[in-house]
Structure formats: structure tokens, C-alpha cells
Chain length 383, copies 4
Amino acid sequence: MNAIKDSVHDWIPLDPVAADLLDTAAVQRLRHIKQLSTVRLVYPSASHTRFEHSLGVYHLARQALDSLDIGEKRARTVRAAALLHDVGHGPYGHQTEEVIRREVGTDHDELGDLLYETELAGVLETHDIDPDRVAALVRGEGELGQVVAGELDVDRMDYLVRDAHHTGVPYGTIDHGRLVRDLQLRDGRLVLGEGNVQTAESLLLARALMDGIVYRHHVSRIAGAMLERACERLLDAGVSIDRFRRMADHDLLVALGEHVPELGGRIERRDLYKRALWVGLDDVPDAVTELSREGERQAAREIATAAGVDRDHVVVDIPDRPRLKESRTRVVVNGVVQRLEQASELVGALRATRRAQWRLGVYAPADERTAVEAAARDVLGLP
Amino acid sequence: MNAIKDSVHDWIPLDPVAADLLDTAAVQRLRHIKQLSTVRLVYPSASHTRFEHSLGVYHLARQALDSLDIGEKRARTVRAAALLHDVGHGPYGHQTEEVIRREVGTDHDELGDLLYETELAGVLETHDIDPDRVAALVRGEGELGQVVAGELDVDRMDYLVRDAHHTGVPYGTIDHGRLVRDLQLRDGRLVLGEGNVQTAESLLLARALMDGIVYRHHVSRIAGAMLERACERLLDAGVSIDRFRRMADHDLLVALGEHVPELGGRIERRDLYKRALWVGLDDVPDAVTELSREGERQAAREIATAAGVDRDHVVVDIPDRPRLKESRTRVVVNGVVQRLEQASELVGALRATRRAQWRLGVYAPADERTAVEAAARDVLGLP
Amino acid sequence: MNAIKDSVHDWIPLDPVAADLLDTAAVQRLRHIKQLSTVRLVYPSASHTRFEHSLGVYHLARQALDSLDIGEKRARTVRAAALLHDVGHGPYGHQTEEVIRREVGTDHDELGDLLYETELAGVLETHDIDPDRVAALVRGEGELGQVVAGELDVDRMDYLVRDAHHTGVPYGTIDHGRLVRDLQLRDGRLVLGEGNVQTAESLLLARALMDGIVYRHHVSRIAGAMLERACERLLDAGVSIDRFRRMADHDLLVALGEHVPELGGRIERRDLYKRALWVGLDDVPDAVTELSREGERQAAREIATAAGVDRDHVVVDIPDRPRLKESRTRVVVNGVVQRLEQASELVGALRATRRAQWRLGVYAPADERTAVEAAARDVLGLP
Amino acid sequence: MNAIKDSVHDWIPLDPVAADLLDTAAVQRLRHIKQLSTVRLVYPSASHTRFEHSLGVYHLARQALDSLDIGEKRARTVRAAALLHDVGHGPYGHQTEEVIRREVGTDHDELGDLLYETELAGVLETHDIDPDRVAALVRGEGELGQVVAGELDVDRMDYLVRDAHHTGVPYGTIDHGRLVRDLQLRDGRLVLGEGNVQTAESLLLARALMDGIVYRHHVSRIAGAMLERACERLLDAGVSIDRFRRMADHDLLVALGEHVPELGGRIERRDLYKRALWVGLDDVPDAVTELSREGERQAAREIATAAGVDRDHVVVDIPDRPRLKESRTRVVVNGVVQRLEQASELVGALRATRRAQWRLGVYAPADERTAVEAAARDVLGLP
């Protein structure tokens, strides 16, 4: 069995399926997609990729499956799903998800397509693995789907420790060794065994701290919103959605430089817009938080007109209302499976914290900030 | 300027005062007092000492004082206080505090004595440092006392990262670099500057997680309670309090082996009592949680009698009601100094969490557990 | 003073010059140039950039200058040189150096041009820093030039620890804290103070081990040689050298995909050539090791013809004869400055080791390997 | 399967044999024996114990045995030997080895005795493990004995990384994951598989650097020599060798304080002798390097008399001539098993380096140093 050196998990042994999957273009492409897209404009060491993250998820899946003891055939399929869970992503990962979804619809299963169309299909067939099953696992379906995509999935465990390692921000450093060892299946549900309320809480807390300090840092959010706007412009300029969604990061950066030079250049040179507006949830009318993406774009256009600035100089960024998926983690307490939100006082507080951290942002070039702020307050109906 | 290699902070440069203080017997004694006393019976790598911790506290104090910019003369005194903050401790650190306090009274200032009586006095005089001022700083008095002993003190910052490093439990790994850089004095109070609510929360969370998983691990608590009982027996056996409180860990371990061989041997060989009773706060009558130490010992005697076992075979462990000192940390929010408990939803939840983790314990040899449990329920009036 | 979080050195404080330099396009471009170019095809976590490395070099320079105590004005210039030392690089860093040199000549000072032509000039002028002096320091001139580029430079210290951190290979982890603290200037030469023969040896050993296991790993060398060949083809295809040398990595990858699709695609998908020939120094005639790059290309053409394969399917890779620059490090031994090669037995052995590790490589697609090997032996006159 | 948290290897799973062995007094005693005895007087963080080291050796043995694939029954015995390899040590580990050997003879097998006499015997019998086999493995006998005690043993791998972690000196950080994965048995010999000359060299280099900077630091050597002298005095004072060799560190420290107060107090307070003489191998007559321990003591007495100082004020420290056991490591090179000294140029150089680092030391209180130096030169026949 071959092995790859990883800066987080040290040596990652590869089973034959993984070794073959790694050699496909679909998986190699992940070398060219950064894990944290615009976060590295704040934390310069964070230029790690979805390729190494996928290896890490595969590795933790293998360890978790050892604890679950489910037989080699099923385990092999779950490990393949873990390795492939991100190959359906567009360039810059989650950052282009929304743009792609608008074009192809939410029902489109990009990963599913890849598993049938590309050389991935051949590798899976050689090793007698059902592509439908892999796609279902990545969607989190079935009891083992929770290992790959659920409240206690190994995806989250890997990205927390990996992002901590690469940003230098320590808060993501969870005890993943204990988490994967104490996973159990009870009545078709993935749970953490007895004595792990605090272990589950630690996962929740790590996510909450990394969220505020890393993932939702305002500079990263500004760059992300600018990037999303630039991608819309790229599609408007005639780049097809099919070409777009299979781009790697370098393809996108060059295409932006060619077709949307001002925004593209600003992102590349980290010459970012500033916050013209930055408002908490209590100060925003419900009608605004519930705007569709189309409504958001419409508002941006109106603000630009009212402020008398170029349409591309106004970016509106309204995050979804905060959720706390991890709160539904299942833990065994005195022999009974409970949701973490029942077993832990922290869940409610973290929900309130995330609500308090929520911000609507309107961003613009530094010298147009004042005009845009006034226009934005007016258009969005803020005091 | 000389420097010492530390596994946590790498090279720690020493100023001339520190270099001289290090050569005194009072500071060298800290090499022989473990930082985490009985915790290492759970986490075997955690055999680090108060000596390296004191160096770390000195180091972080120096960095914090650089941010505060208070002048070299005052800074020198604070650094000396940081280095000396633990020299007044008895053997096994906090574990013998209560036993000593009962004998010498809470007013006794052990550190104060040492600063006048021992060679420490000479070193301080040579460097023109006022011993009274050092003792006051260690008691947390004055605006700079908060650097040494307060909600935002460097003592806590060092022990969290150090204990995480040595136990292998990652939760104490805070961003101490940011904390010491963002400390400010405002109106005579130590505060964290703007933008640090989450930084303050992270300190609180790190403490809460380390508390549950490390500091209050039940095995460590059992050993700690046995040790406290053994120390009482040692004093009963005629060892003077003056000799006792200046012992190092090895002196105590040998003295216990000689004078209290059964309990001493059990602690040395990690042959510990088991939990006969382990009850949460809601199930314990107020009269019991409010018992004095003398009341606690009296209860233990009654339980032993009722269970028909040797007096030393029953150890009663009733922790103080949970407090959350860090909740009073001051942070600047929108230009205004606030208490963290005002600025953070998490504080209330952590208070509830600590309350939920609170346990009264009664410990006994494995084969006498059943008899002791029944007797304990009866004596303590539990259902 | 502002600060940036780094995963290797934690917080890096920025002086005003550094803060302004960071905002220039020339420095921001380094975010898009990987530190280890093709090494990440072997060690997937190693996707760090010259941007974070430049920050690290700046940081260690500041610490080294603190030890040297040379006055703020001179120190400011050295720190600027440390931050800018890599901005003159082409895409993929050292990997394109040779290609560029052939086109523009060895006398061309790319960095010098940038310091006068771009916004860098304005920043330096604002802070009263002489661009000529910066360029000279980066060339290693003068006693302080040795801090930036010499046997004991902070460039090497940073890349060893950083590459170790990001690859996961531990051998580069030197004690840089001690190295920067013990630097001294003696008679205009940078030396390591008394007691540091082993410290100097450790730097040499770290480089030697990282060289064999990381920097010269054969997979990385194959990809590097393919990349160099692809770049030649790109220039042949009409891309101007001026555009080429200011590309970032993503520009190059896209340009290769467009103009040299077979080689470019193979590099992007890690579908690499294999070793057709891999021969040690003793088995290679001097005439071959002394071939110029033009001679190397000529040989590749002849081999391709003889083997009857496409010209691009043969890549010849003849490294320079091994040198050991660090052997000339100066250390103080019993009060006398010596070269490390005089003070250490290890230097000679490392020289022999590097000689033993030297390999000539000829690479080709897997299925043409046999034909190419035979042709290559014939053309190069190997047994 | 239970698991213990370790700061070096994270979670260490325990098999049933290990779980039972850990509960014996003989293994628990290792909690009270420091791994690096007097080294912690130089590196204050290095207060780790033989207990955690033994767990680490057990853990690496398990991983190595997985690679070797030798069957569970044999593997179980080797794992037990790995866990028990240090239980025969006296207090302060290697530091008292020589003193004990002089009293009981080199043929005495302390571990063997323990395996039959103590509760260890019962545990081994329960799990059907032959004590003779365990003792033989710890002596390095048989092909599997090399895993526990040989040139490539897991003992060395664990102590290098562990001592690096705890001292903060990075040089011991080897790639143990690769070492244990690439071990093979060939014709009854433990070898490193193909492609590992540099891996083997790295182990050798790590040992050499740690030797010079950590293990043989002169301050640690002075304290060690003083300790050895104090132990001799303790035995002279009537403490029996049987009691002595089963002491833990705390027992020894207290016994020294009682019976040899001056030397004992100096060690405890780190109030150490200074180097009166410190001479390299070339300057020492063969007759002196070949002195027996008795001869060494005799010389010390003569020096004290000649210098007119107290007998205990002169400590003579003549290390054995340097050896390089790791040079005999076996590696596979081009399919053939070779000794590392044949395959690596570094071995010869390291031998020379260790020879160059060798020092004879004579230590005395600071104010008697001059008198002692003169007397020592005279007695030992040095120029």
C-alpha cells in the first residue's frame, strides 16, 4: 500500500481504489482549487488546496470506518465517496456555488455527471463500486452518508484542523483522533458514544470561532462578494456555464483578467472595495434579509444608479440567516441518544452569537463609499 | 542578555533581574513542583513543572508590558512579580493550598515572607525593586496587578497553552500572541482593545474545555482528594506546617510513604479509589454544598463509621460552587469598555455548563464502594 | 504597528515601509507564485507562496538586525530588501530562471528595473530608501547583503522551516531563533558567535536532507524539466519574454494550455514522463556534464530523432555540478573566525554525499521509454 | 480497546496485555523516573518520564510489527518487551547504571528478576507470554530483538522525537512514520527497504545533533557526574544496593538530601560545580582514557589531596571512547542489504565529529577551580 505525506495527518496510506482515483483528471484538478478561496487575502499562509483536503477526508473516513466495523465492501465505497466529495465543485470552491446553481438549477448533480461521464466511471467499475451509491453518500444519504456529509462528518473534522494549520489560527484544532474513535452507529444513525458531550461541544465551538475569525472575516467576505459579481459578469460576457464550472482557479483568474479586467485585477492585486455599509440583523428589515439573489442584484443596480457610480462599483452581500447544523449532532448520554442541543447549554448561546455576528455588507471603492452608503440606506430602507 | 529554551515559547530572553532570581533556591524549588499535580495520572505526558510555567509567565508579561508602554522601572517590577508568582506555593501546587490555609489562616502571605526572609530579598534589593510592590502585584492589586493576576492575566494564558502542549489535549491552544498585543490600560483597568470580543471568548472557552477534559477529570480529582486526605494525616502525624509548606513534590511523596503508607503508596502506584457517589448540583441539598472543610471531614468520618470501613477509606470531595472569573474580562466594544458578560452571549451558557459539570464525589476502595455509597447517601441526606 | 498572522512565525509585525510595500502590485503578485513550484506534485500540502515566504524573510531579517544593532536607517533598508528579494522572479520561481536568463542575458537586473519603473519606486522614495542600495543588498553585496543573500542569510532559514511545515517533512526544522540571535558582524563579515559550530552544521544538514528528500525528488525534477521545455516552446510560439517574465503561475499555466497543450496538460494533470535514463556522475563523460543549455537541447533533439519519437517527448535534465555554498559559513571558534569547512568534519562528507546524489535524467512518456533510453545512451556516449 | 493520550503520538491504543502491565507497580514506578535526568537543568521543559517514553516505544513497536507481519502471538511478546524495556532501570535512568553495575556485576539481569519476582510474572502468565523471551528481546536477541534494542530500534525513534518535543530543540524530529513503515526482515535481520539511505542517515544525524546540543551538554554532564559521585557516597553511607536500585527519582533525591547533604543540595538547587578542566581526546594520554571507574575515583582523590580541597569537591568525568552504533544499520541498496557505513559517506564524518566533541572533564566549586585545575593536570599527566 502506497502512502502520501500530508502536513496535517503525516503519512496517509492509500488503498488501491484511492491510488487509481488519484490519477484521474477530475481529482488532479483539485490541486488547482484552493480550499479557502479569498481567505488567503487575510491569512497569507492559507493557500492549501481541495486536493490535500480530500486526501485528509479520505484518511479520517478510513479511521472512522475502522471504528464502525461495517465490512470492507461498504467501507470501500464510503472511502471513495470521501475522496471524491469535492470533485463536483466549480472554481474557487463554495464561492462560485451560488452562481452555478442559478444557471443549472439546484437539481443538477454535477458530481453524479462526473461519475458517469469521465474516467472516474472506469475506475469505479474496475473496483466494482456503484457510482449512484457514491453520489448518494456525498449527498449525505443513508446511515453511512452521515460519515461523509452530516453533523459529525469527517469533512468538517479535516477542514477545521487543516485550516487551523494553514492559517495559523489555533481555534480549529480539535481532537479528531477522539472523534473518529468514538463514532458509533445506533439504529441507523451516526452518534458519538457515551462521555462525549464536551467532545461534541468542542467541534461546535471550533466551528464558531473559526467562522468569526477566519471564514467570515470581513476582508475575505468583500473579496468573495467581488468575485461573485465578477463571475456573473463573466457569464454575461459569453463564457458558457459548462466551461465555467469545470474551470480551475487559474483558469478563472485569467478569464476574469481578460473579460472583467477591473474587478479581476482588483481581486488579483488585493485592491479591494471597502465597507460602505455594515449592518447587524436587528437593523435590517425582513424584506431585505429575504431578498433573492436576483433581488440582491437588482438592489445593487438601484444603489449604483442612485449614487451615480458604475454598476460594478457596488456589491451587495446579504448572507443567509445563521444556522447551526452541528447542533443536531447526536451523542449518547446515560445510554440514551440525544441531540446536542438537548444535552448542551452552549448550543443556544452559539446560536445567539452567530446571530449577533451576522452582517449585511455593501462594498464600494474607497472614494465612492460615502455616496454609496447614502444610496444604499435609501434603497434598502435602513434608518 | 541570556536566553532559555522553552518547548512552548521557544527562546525566552532573560533580563538581569530574572537571571539573578533564577539562581535562588526559592525559584529553583519550582523545578520540583509539578504544574498539574495529579492530572498526570490521566495524561502521562503532563509532568511539566511550575519552573517552566513561571518562565513562560515572565515571558508573556514582558510582551504584554511592551504593548502597554509603562516605563522600564515599573515594568521590571511586574516582570519580577510574574516570575515569582508561584514561589509561595506548597508541594503539589494548588492541591495543598486548602490544607495549608487551614493551618496558617487565609491572611498569611507566604510569598511576602519569602520576599523578606530568603535570598530573594537580596536580589530584589540589588535591583532596587520593592518587595511589597511585588507581593501586591501577585495579589492582583493595582492596574498592573491585573497583568499578573486578573481576568486577563498572563498566568492563565501561559498555563492554557502549556498544559495543552504537555497533555496533548488541543483545547487550550489560544492565540496568546494576539492577546498580549491587544492589551491596553484604560482608566486604570486592563482591557482588550477594539475587535476582540471573540478573542476574549476564546480564552473563556479554552478554560471551559480544559476544565472539563483536563483539570477536573474525575481520575485526577480522585487522586487529588486522596492526596489532600493524606496530607491531613501527615500533619496529624506530627510533621510541622512550616516544614510541610516548603516541601517540594519529592519531599512530600517520600514523607507520605513513610507516615501514611497506605494512601501514599496508592497515590504513587496510581492504585486509586473509585467513585462510590458522583452527584450533580441539583441533587445535593444546599446544606451539603455549603459544608466547611471541617464539615466535610466530619461527614467522611460518619460515612466511614456507618459503612464499617477504615476512616481513610472514605474521601469526600465537594468542590466550590462554580464561578466564571473570566466573565468579568473587559473589552472595548465600539469605543466603550464593557464586561465580557455584557458583550457575549456565551458567558451565560458557560456558566450553565460549569454548573452542569459540577459533581460531588465520595471515593472509596473498589470493594467497599457499595457499602460506602449507601452510607454516604444516608449521611449526606441524598435520595 | 500592524501585524499579519503567519503559520510559521505566528504574528509578523509590519513597520510602515513594509505595510506600504505590501500594497504594491509587484509584491501582491508573489501571492500567485508558489514557493516550491513542482514539488507540490510530490508533497500535496506544499502549495505555499513566495508572498508568505517574503514576509517570513522580512521577519527574520528584523530579528537578526536587532542582534546586529546597526541603526534604524540602515536596518530599514535591509528589511525592505528582505521583503523584496523575490519580486524579480518569473513565474514558478527558480524553475523559469534559466529560460529567462537565456533570453535577457545574465547581466539583466530584473529587480533593479522594478525598483525604478513601478510603484515600488514611489514607496521607497516616500520612505527615503535608496533603490540601488536595495538591489545591491539583494545581490548579497556589502556586509549587510550577507543577511539577505549569503551563506547565513535569513532567506535560507525561512525556507527551510517553512518548506518543512508545509511539506510535512521534518528535516528542515532548524533552530532559527538561535541562528538569528547569534549572528555577529566581525570585520565586515557576518559570522556566528562562539559555540555555534553545531548550529552551523545543523543548517547545512537540514539543507542536505531537504535537498535529497524534497527539493530534488525525482518526480519534482521530471515535472520541472517538462515545465522548462514547455516554456521554451511557449517563447518559440511567439509569447514575448517581457510578457513571460512578469506572468504569475496562473498566467503561465493557462498560456501553456493554450500554446503547448500536450506538455501543459500533462503538467496540470500530473501525467508525467518517466525516467528513461537516470545516471550518476561517475558514469557520465565530462563532455556531457559540461554541456551548455543549448547543447542540452541539441542532444534532446538528436535523441528524439534517433528514437523516432516526437521532439517534445524527450526531456534532458543535466543538473549543475554539486556545490555546497553553506560550507563557507563563518563561525567563531575559540575567538577566531573560521570557515565552517575548516571547523567541521561534516562538510567534506556532505560534499561527497551531494556528489553521490547527483543524477543525469532523460525523461519520456512511459511507452517510449525503452526506445529513448537506447537512443540517449548512444547520443550521450554512455556505456 | 482502551487508549491513552500522548503529547507526541496523540492517542495510543492499548491491547489487553499492555492494559494489564500498566497497572503493575513496576511500570507505574516509571512515572517517577525522568527520561532525561540532569538534562532538565539545561532545558527546563524536559521533565518527561520513562513512563510516557515506554508507552511511545510500545506504540511504535506495534506500528513496526504491523509492517513486518509476523503473527499475533510473536507480536504480542515483542509489544510487551517494548513496554517493559526500561522497568529494570535504577533511579535517574542511565545516570545510575554504572554505579549499580559496579555493585551487582554486569551479568546481573535486573529486568529478568522483575519478570519472575513481581506481579509482572502473573500478568505475563495470564496472557501466555514467556518471561525469558521478553528478557531476551530487551537484550536485543533474535531478529525481533532488533526492533526493541538494535541499530534501528523503536526505542531510539521514540526518544529522539520525544526529547525534541520536550526540550524544544528541533533536531530530533525524525520521520518515524516512514521508518516504521519501511522496516523489513531479510534473512533474520532487520533492514530498511529500498530507497532509504537518506532515511537512515537522518536517524544518525538526529542522534548526532541531539547528542551535542542536548544529551552531552556540559551543564548536564557536570550535574550527572556530581550525581554519580553522590550516589557512590550514598552507598558508602550504608544504603543497600537492593534498596538503591529500586528507588524512584524522588526517593533518591530525598535520600541524598539526608545522607549526602552538600552534593544533594547542590543538585537539587542547581548550584553546580564548574569546569576546572575540559580537554579533547588528542590532549589526553591513552592511559587516562582507559582508566577504569575505580581508577577514575582514585584520580579524583589524588587531585583533591594535591589541591588541598575536600574529596567531594573534585569530580572526574571521563566518557567512554565515542562509538557510532547506528552506523551498522542495514539498508537495502539496489536490492542488496548493506551496512549504512558502506552506503553513506556521512558515517565516517560523524565518527570524526563525535571524536572531536569528546571531552574529559574535571569539575569543582567555582572558587576552587584554579587549584583543582593545576592539580588535575599534574595527576593526569596533561600538558
